[in-house]
């Protein structure tokens, strides 16, 4: 077996490992065997003892996704909290996973952000090695396995619960997957929400949302549900017109993933507020 190492002492790769039958297209598996120290933050089981880590981390969230006619909206508020304090008011909780899918995260911000980054690398790695992308269901299953791998830290209070939304350009279907903290994966029909404000947001979505609406209507409903969650949940931030910080809105349709600019979101928020006053 030949080893080949780069300029970085941290990385040494086994050229012929991929020629054997234990060949894997999974970046997560490669990292596990070849650079396990890079995964410590996500999966380390023992080194923190029994003390709860939850009070040290940034949490609190409402993220949601809605299917509309021709695609899916995925959105999140921007607040991060540490205990009773607002730690950040411009957090990003929605991340593109590849050209046609995205992850929204809730729970402990550090591990959750790492999970989103690792998942995006995983999908790109698979695509490059195999020459084609994973199916939508395959991507969702992989994410479930990564949430499950995080279980040791979940048990210490650092819970990570993602939401996965994507569009399959071949069958022209949009799909949303929900997860639980131990890696359960559930296909949602028309909408899903996660995080501390999700119960409130789900109430709004259940009452208002239908999967047959237009993109604009779905974005309005998403902002409406986020505003409801922000009103009742102290860990969810509402639109901040003073500092020009608005919920992050992304859409995935036949053209792929795209995010709304702040200048696009602001007038829709105003429109939603006018509607709410009536």
């Amino acid at each position: 077996m030949q080893h080949f190492s780069s300029d970085s002492p941290a990385i040494a790769l086994n050229v012929l490992a991929s020629g054997a039958l234990n060949h894997t297209s999974s970046f997560f598996d490669v990292l596990h065997t070849q650079a396990p120290h890079a995964l410590t933050a996500l999966t380390s089981p023992e080194q923190f003892g029994n003390s709860s880590l939850a009070k040290l981390s940034v949490e609190g969230t409402t993220v949601l996704a809605l299917v509309f006619d021709g695609g899916v909206v995925i959105a999140g508020d921007r607040r991060g909290i540490t205990g009773h304090l607002i730690a950040r008011s411009d957090m990003r909780k929605v991340f593109p996973a590849d050209a046609y899918s995205a992850v929204a995260i809730s729970g402990a911000a550090g591990p959750a952000t790492d999970l989103a980054k690792l998942f995006a690398t995983e999908l790109e790695h698979y695509e490059k090695v195999e020459g084609h992308t994973l199916s939508l269901d395959g991507r969702a299953t992989k994410l479930a396995a990564m949430v499950r791998a995080h279980l040791p830290l979940t048990l210490q209070g650092l819970i990570v619960v993602p939401l996965f939304a994507g569009f399959d350009p071949h069958s022209s279907t949009a799909r949303i997957y929900e997860y639980d903290p131990v890696g359960g994966k559930y296909l949602a029909t028309a909408y899903a929400a996660s995080g501390s404000g999700s119960l409130i947001a789900k109430g709004t979505l259940k009452r208002v949302h239908r999967a047959t609406v237009s993109e604009h209507q779905a974005v309005m409903t998403a902002l409406d549900a986020l505003a409801d969650a922000a009103e009742a949940d102290s860990a969810t931030g509402g639109p901040d017109q003073l500092r020009n910080i608005y919920p992050l809105i992304a859409v995935i349709d036949e053209h792929g993933y795209r995010e709304y600019e702040t200048t696009q979101v602001a007038p829709i928020v105003a429109q939603v507020f006018v509607q709410r006053e009536q």
Binding site: S8, S18, F27, Q34, A38, T121, H125, K128
Partner: protein, 231 residues
């Protein structure tokens, strides 16, 4: 008790090199050309699934000739190396030179110590960010041979099959100011002359790196995209 016959190191290296060269010369030729906005690989390949070229990372691509099973293992190892580095540091920290060095080390070590040397030759291409700088300083082509020898070029590299006629033809006909279409036309014309075959769009694998694309700059042309380019 068995005893081996003495073979001088010179003879051993020579035999191995000859073995590897023969294997590589049996295959089809691949041309890597730097053009104004990127790098393009052109080779004869009628398969639509078993490719000789591949994306490695945002600005890096891979091309190989020789034994498929051997360069496929090298390709996957390169993607792993690049992805691990990009994950641990930042996307812009992944560059072509360390990767070319890693391939050179691996092939060099294998050439000396393995029962059989790799029968492959590789090109690692890297494009720079789109600027007003001239092509010659923006794009890089690393050429790695079966014994681990590493050379870099900023213009063109020819590997596999009978390379000499193409190399000498490119010496006079290559210009770094060509656009992608001109580069593809030139490469296809030279490959047609060299192989004495008509080479239609279906017989060609054309891919490369387009510096004007955002983030992932690798492209692969389909036969319907190739047809109008080669006329």
């Amino acid at each position: 008790m068995s005893s081996n016959f003495y073979v001088s190191p010179e003879q051993l290296m020579q035999d191995r090199a000859e073995y590897a060269r023969k294997g590589i010369a049996r295959g089809r030729t691949l041309v890597a050309l730097a053009y104004d906005e990127g790098v393009v690989f052109v080779t004869e390949n009628s398969s639509r699934t078993l490719y000789k070229t591949s994306e490695i990372y945002d600005r890096i691509a891979f091309a190989a000739v020789g034994r498929y099973n051997e360069f496929e293992a090298l390709r996957v190892a390169g993607i792993r190396l690049a992805d691990i580095k990009g994950f641990q540091y930042a996307r812009e920290d992944v560059s072509g030179k360390p990767l070319a060095n890693a391939y050179s080390q691996a092939l060099g070590a294998s050439f000396i110590s393995d029962t059989k040397p790799f029968e492959v030759e590789l090109v690692i291409a890297q494009v720079g960010v789109a600027t007003s700088e001239p092509t010659s300083t923006r794009h890089e082509l690393f050429h790695i041979t079966y014994d681990g020898s590493l050379n870099d070029a900023s213009s063109y590299v020819v590997i596999g099959g009978d390379t000499e006629p193409l190399r000498s033809a490119l010496e006079t006909s290559y210009s770094p100011e060509m656009d992608r279409q001109a580069a593809v036309r030139l490469a296809v014309t030279l490959l047609r002359n060299n192989s004495q075959r008509p080479l239609a769009a279906d017989d060609l694998e054309i891919s490369g790196l387009d510096a004007t694309l955002p983030r992932r700059r690798f492209f692969r042309l389909t036969p319907s995209q190739i047809s109008p380019l080669i006329g």
